[in-house]
Amino acid sequence: AAATATQSHAQAADGDPNILNLPAHSKGLGQPVAARPYGLPSEFEKNLQRRESPGLTRVGQASVSFCPLQGLFGIITPSGLHFERHHQGWWDIDPSKHRLMVNGSDDSMLKRPMVFSMDELMRLPNVSRMHFIECGANTGMEWGNSAVPTVQYTHGMLSCSEFTGVPLRTLLDLCGVDFKRAKFILAEGADGSSMTRTIPISLIMSGEVLVAYGQNGEMLRPENGYPLRLIVPGVQGVSWVKYLRRIEVGDMPYATKDESIHYVDLQPSGLHRQYTSIQEVKSVITSPSGGQVLLDKGFHTITGLAWSGRGKIKRVDVSTDGGRNWKPARLEGPVLAKCLTRFNADFVWDGKPAIFQSRAVDETGQIQPNYHELRKVRASRSIYHNNAIQSWQLEENGEVKNVQV
């Protein structure tokens, strides 16, 4: 590590050859505009990819690829690195043939069932909002003990984008939904799994739930549901139904496969909590984090992400001694509801071991728990909704490791 740490140091008496000998790009002509009509990252950035966690799943089409949080900045996730979770594989659907149907579980739920084309949906009044999406199973492998080495695998089922779409409420209004009878909707996808999830009408009435086509300025990516996806801010990713083809308005929850057999949280009582949906207040330090090696002693920036499915982040504290003492971190703007918030804190490394932790508080006053506080109530078999404080241990050799205290 010491060798690379001195990268900028004058390597000869005179100075650094990278300065003294002008590089080719200072003495030549580069490439023309639009050489790449759609650009890509630098060749030197290839290490940051979405990756599967070896052994986690058995088939690639019913699996997850994790977002490389260890290398990301700010709050917007580059769409090319957005995490993926498919149940029956992803498709690149012809949008001119895609339809959205809204119907009732019976005739009393709405005046008329309707069909919309993409052309029509994109004419309707729309909004643009920044929100995080987190899989309910994010950090699920860590309920019992430290299991995976890096923040990509511990927390990488997390991404954040600016979404553009039509409030679902508008579509329900157009169908003349009887809001006295209707209590739930079922959202259904068009892929093989035809993913189905129940959402309460009350949440839709708030205008927050979107039928979205836009993500980070362009159309949704195929892996994220092109051309249409449900956006359910604050709620776990499985409810953000991709390739959205149908909304059914009804008066009871649907207990679909991913509401009864999965995404249910096993409690110490032996009961499963059903319809656990909100992603509670959570944060993680993304760098320095597991699997990284600090190059040098001295000043470092501790950086990470905080979020809550209940609203805005109010504060984040950071500890470098495993949770004994805490200092407030700086929050970068904008701080938005149900959106990632980037935090930063100073750290001067004296070469001794340290344990980094971050702890978020949201605007409802909920404080992110440590593993002790979380397991006291829920034990460790929930699989889903692990929002415990993450610990990264810095060793004397500069290596950072995933630990639990």
């Binding site: 260890q70 309707m114 309707l124 496969k257």
Partner: protein
Amino acid sequence: QQADPAKAQRSALAGIGRTATPAEVKAWDIDVRPDFKGLPKGQGSVRQGEVIWEAQCASCHGSFGESSAVFTPIAGGTTAADVKSGRVDGLMPGANQPQRTTMMKMSTLSTLWDYINRAMPWTSPKSLTANEVYAVTAYILNLGNVLPEDFTLSDSNIREVQGRLPNRNGMTTAHAMWPGRELGGTDRPDVQGSACMTNCGGEAVVKSFLPDYARNAHGNLAEQSRNIGPTRGADTTRAALA
């Protein structure tokens, strides 16, 4: 005129979208609810189901639903006592069940019918007839010792069978994680952290960490981190530096 903004908007937006035809709704409205609304009429026996299972399902899920080749096992881990109580003992703390199978968790039978009907077999979803779904559902229930071998499952007896599911009483909505009040949950989250800022708790002792032999289990981490910045990815093909 401001009295009903929804109505005002409806008229401004008139002409966008159209009424769905009955045939269209029929083609797409395939969901089956816990109260079995949406369930098509039909029937299928355990024996018919076995034939379909062997031909179209067993390759992935195993002849007895025991395989974990593509997913957690479908059957296993439930007992006759569970069928009576409606609570699966294997889910209790310390029960030491190696896996939580579909049969152990499933509390609503509609779920199984609906899911097979919409998504299985995996490579050709929505290819089964309603009767075939009844049959294969019956077979899975037989594998789970919920139905006898000579049973024929149908839209008229499915409610009774629901009453035999091993984990039918295994769910609760008494929590604060549903984003509404429809399910009778609670308002107050069950877990709350601490706002302590100094001298909190005892010494920080590491209780869990990754074993050295797993160091390279996720591939070489040196190749998974940016090559500039204040850190590098650890070269996990080698032992950690002293």
